[in-house]
């Protein structure tokens, strides 16, 4: 199947891309209201959107009668498309990065596409107080690793508070008798972050001193480049976004205070299930919140979660998104968004914003994606029903104006894939027979 999809992708890239007009659809722009009309795509961008548009000559017409077009969904917290997620051996693993292990062949990408997702923030796991570097990707299924990176997006880094990072230091935790690792308490988590940023400041000073010496014409041995501390210096300088996994209000306040003290910003609090308790403080720091709709009580620190969390935080002035943290949930983030209307009474547009423009703003890519506006990337999902209905299915997904998912095509290709699989199984059986029983060594 993979190769079939790949070859289709290749052929669609090679053809000179004509303009595309999605016509007579209900268009949910998220930022500019909802209208019935057209969206025009050319050279990967939205060049026109409105009730009446001019279509370029030779444009391919997609009939949108009865369909709903929305901006491609953005997931601010995902762990798909990577060959490793956690560097759990150390408390500060900022030397590692998802970009090094991106796996564009992960089938979860295609499945998320089928749920209307076009952009995702691929995060390091939550095993460490300070985790690894994160990468924002576009779900360009069929492309090589380098080509799925969201070009120009600011890089991120994962922090984690609470149970996960302290578990590795707990003799009764999941690594009984294993190599115990500091910290074992929430206090220790704070200490690790403080120490790391103290080191990062010293490291920055070391380089500044060296550069000053060189500028004066002195001879000096340069400091050793430290891949662990470099990303933290970037955080201090506002060049890298912090995405912090957290649950409890006390640890949330702790992190905000540490960040204020060291003079850096937390870009998003992830999960942040008790965010509703400290919404004012989060808003004051300027952190965004990326939470679940109604996942609850799956561990001690998640016990105080409420489904009203997203709505309450939004009403307190926090930039709120809903994320998946799961390859499965990622496929129906539109359903998750719809829940905020039931729990908290968000409007349709507010609900949609939690999976489009808000995560785009959190990732600082809202100049490119997150809404249907002229000049933005043509990242669009076409649904057969209103996307906030849980009967809705994704029919087509465009990224940069290219069709990456087409439900009809997917369905029509399934018998072919079945056939291909059958013939490959026959071939393999043949091969095993040829090799004979003695060919298998007991290794």
């Amino acid at each position: 199947m993979k190769s079939l999809i790949l070859s289709l992708m290749v052929s669609s890239t090679l053809a000179a891309a004509p303009a595309i007009v999605i016509r007579n659809a209900t268009v949910l722009t998220v930022t500019k209201g909802t209208y019935t009309g057209s969206v025009v795509i050319q050279d990967g961008k939205i060049i026109a959107a409105g009730e009446t548009v001019m279509a370029p000559p030779g444009a391919q017409i997609v009939d949108g009668t009865g369909k709903y077009v929305m901006p491609g969904i953005i997931d601010c917290h995902s762990h798909i498309a990577a060959d490793s997620i956690n560097e759990g051996a150390v408390s500060v693993s900022s030397m590692v990065g998802i970009e090094d292990v991106l796996n564009p062949e992960d089938i979860a990408i295609y499945r998320a596409l089928a749920g209307g997702v076009t952009t995702a923030n691929i995060l390091h796991g939550s095993a460490n107080s300070i985790g690894g570097k994160c990468t924002v990707i576009k779900l360009r299924w069929g492309k090589d690793a380098h080509d799925i990176i969201f070009e120009g997006a600011l890089p991120g880094i994962k922090f984690a508070l609470g149970e996960n990072p302290k578990r590795a230091g707990n003799a009764n935790g999941f690594q009984q008798n294993a190599n115990l690792r500091y910290p074992a308490t929430r206090m220790g988590v704070e200490d690790v972050i403080r120490e790391a940023f103290t080191d990062a400041k010293a490291y920055r000073q070391e380089w500044n001193d060296y550069n000053a010496k060189i500028a004066k014409g002195e001879v000096a041995i340069p400091p050793r480049r430290d891949l662990k501390l470099e990303p933290l210096v970037e955080v201090l300088e506002g060049k890298r976004l912090v995405h912090a996994h957290c649950y409890r209000q006390d640890e949330i306040l702790m992190l905000l205070r540490v960040a204020d003290e060291f003079n850096f910003k937390i870009r998003t609090l992830q999960h942040v299930l008790e965010g509703y308790k400290v919404a004012k403080e989060i808003a004051a720091h300027g952190a965004g919140a990326s939470t679940f709709s109604d996942w609850w009580d799956y561990k001690m620190e998640a016990a105080d979660a409420i489904p009203y969390n997203a709505a309450i935080m939004m009403k307190k002035g926090i930039l709120v998104s809903l994320n998946s943290d799961s390859a499965e949930l990622m496929r129906h983030l539109n359903d998750e968004a719809a829940k905020t209307m039931k729990y908290g009474g968000l409007t349709e547009t507010e609900a949609l914003s939690t999976i489009t423009i808000n995560p785009a703003k959190q990732l600082m890519i809202d100049n490119r994606v997150g809404s249907i506006e002229v000049g933005k990337d043509a990242d669009l999902a076409i649904f057969d029903k209103h996307p906030l209905s849980n009967y809705a299915k994704v029919e087509k997904v465009y990224i940069d104006g290219q069709l990456y998912f087409d439900r009809e095509k997917d369905l029509s290709e399934r018998p072919g894939h079945e056939q291909e699989k059958k013939s490959l199984i026959e071939k393999e059986k043949e091969q095993l027979k040829k090799a004979g029983p003695g060919a298998r060594r007991p290794t």
Binding site: M1, K2, S3, A82, D83, S84, I85, N86, E87, G88, A89, V90, S93, M95, V96, G97, I98, D100, V101, L102, N103, P104, E105, A127, G132, D144, A145, H146, A168, Q175, A178, N179, V219, A220, I221, P222, R224, R225, D226, L227, K228, H417, E420, K421, L424, I425, K427, E428, Q431, L432, A435, G438, A439, R440, R441, P442, T443
Partner: protein, 450 residues
């Protein structure tokens, strides 16, 4: 004396004789570097090839082998191996890939306390040199030589930076005499300790570690230069891990899928290291990347297949089926695209299995000429020793395999093997599999993914 020699030959099942000059007369000669010579002579003298051709006459002082009906090939080269390092041999024939044996190959180097970061140089023995580790006591030497291999590119294979390889000839009376060239590269795996072990515990941790080591190597070099040329600077620390890395002319990185090929080509470019990728079962759809980067490849002849322990009715997902079916087409695709590649035996122990594996590659479109090249001249070129081994040309080392019939025909018997001009007769295949030599050749780790 003669009798003693005979007795020796019986005991060892191999008889090495040392005349100064030997002429293999009236043989079919496949030089690899040029067209086949249907009837000609190869003259060996003092361990080197003196002359080869249709019109070469045996010198008066040469011992003559009347080779009517025999074919002479360059000695085969196993492009990636641990043969020659006895500790790397599996402890027992049924002992799997010989993890225990390989761990023993670098006992002192692996830290006993888990590493806390890159500065602890985890799983690093970059300073180890295969040339220092090879011994004639590795019983695998005789068994692979009997299959026509005269040369292996042998590496320490334990750890992330495992150590430096050497091209060795499977002959000689002292280990130092085996070494043709060294160091020929640093063998790198992407292994990690997983959760609960030391750093690195993940693939991305291993990659970050390797990157830090090369940054440290740059710093080390610069600091030493400054220290040497200026008084009053702090004394740089000696670091054997960096010394080993700096001494390596190229690196070997594992790659299975297209994504690995892409990742490792970019990584090597970032590290500014000449690179050889090894494994590469999915080279059939990575040739464009390899060609563009000009990256040579060592292809594992042990083609991926359905795991033996798996449910006989479960053939897995389409993707793995596709890999099983298409992997043997990798060499043909690489050859068509002009990607330089060589073969390695990758844990295949029996000549029959090796020939079957090669046949799958030729059935998938690889010419037998290219298959032969991938086991002779190509690995020699990849490791920069083509001026000495890999083909039958005057001045090259007298490494030859002489067969009755086509080398790739299962029924063909290896008649004798010359290594450094020494003639060896193959030991017979044992009746019970696994009893010959030390059993299985270990498989190089493909770099554990996770």
């Amino acid at each position: 004396m003669k009798r003693l020699l005979c007795l020796f030959a019986v005991v060892c099942s191999a008889w090495a004789e040392v005349p100064t000059a030997i002429a293999i007369h009236n043989a079919r000669i496949i030089p690899v570097s040029g067209p086949a010579i249907e009837r000609g002579t190869v003259v060996l003298r003092n361990g080197l090839i003196e002359s080869v051709g249709a019109n070469v006459n045996p010198p008066a002082d040469a011992w003559i082998i009347e080779a009517e009906g025999l074919t002479v090939y360059p000695g085969l080269i196993d492009g990636l191996s641990s043969v020659g390092i006895p500790e790397a041999a599996p402890a027992a024939p049924a002992g799997g890939a010989g993890a225990a044996g390989r761990a023993a190959a670098a006992p002192a180097a692996v830290a006993t306390t888990p590493a806390k970061g890159p500065e602890d140089r985890p799983n690093t023995t970059s300073w180890l040199r295969a040339a220092d580790l090879v011994k004639l006591t590795d019983s695998r030497i005789e068994s692979v030589r009997s299959d026509g291999f005269t040369t292996t590119v042998t590496f320490p294979m334990t750890g992330i930076f495992a150590g430096q390889g050497a091209v060795i000839d499977l002959s000689g009376d002292r280990p130092g005499k085996m070494v043709v060239a060294e160091p020929v590269g640093q063998y790198i795996t992407l292994s990690s300790s997983g959760f609960g072990g030391g750093f690195p515990g993940s693939l991305m941790g291993t990659i970050a570690y390797i990157r830090q080591v090369y940054l440290d190597a740059d710093h080390y070099t610069k600091a030493r230069e400054l220290y040497a040329s200026h008084k009053g600077l702090p004394r740089p620390e000696y670091d054997r891990a960096i010394e080993g890395v700096l001494a390596s002319p190229r690196i070997l990185l594992p790659a299975s899928r297209r994504v690995d090929v892409d990742r490792m080509i970019r990584f090597a470019a970032e590290l500014k290291q000449p690179v050889i990728l090894y494994g590469v079962p999915e080279g059939y759809h990575s040739a464009d990347l390899l060609k563009k980067a000009g990256t040579p490849v060592l292809v594992n002849l042990k083609w991926p297949e359905k795991p033996a322990e798996s449910d006989p009715d479960d053939f897995g997902v389409l993707q793995s089926l596709e890999v099983h079916a298409k992997a043997p087409s990798t060499p043909a695709v690489l050859a068509k695209n002009g990607v330089k590649f060589a073969f390695y035996s990758g844990g295949i122990t029996k000549r029959a299995d090796l020939l079957k594996a090669i046949k799958r590659a030729t059935d998938a479109g690889l010419s037998t000429d290219d298959a032969l090249r991938a086991m002779t001249l190509a690995p020699a070129e990849i490791f920069g020793v083509a001026d000495r081994v890999g083909s039958i040309e005057p001045g090259k080392i007298a490494n030859l395999v002489v067969t009755k019939g086509d080398l790739f025909d299962e029924k063909t018997k290896v008649q004798f093997v010359f290594v450094d001009g020494m003639k060896y007769e193959p030991v017979p295949e044992p009746a019970v599999p696994g009893n010959r030599g030390a059993g299985e050749r270990p498989t190089p780790s493909e770099g554990v993914q996770q």
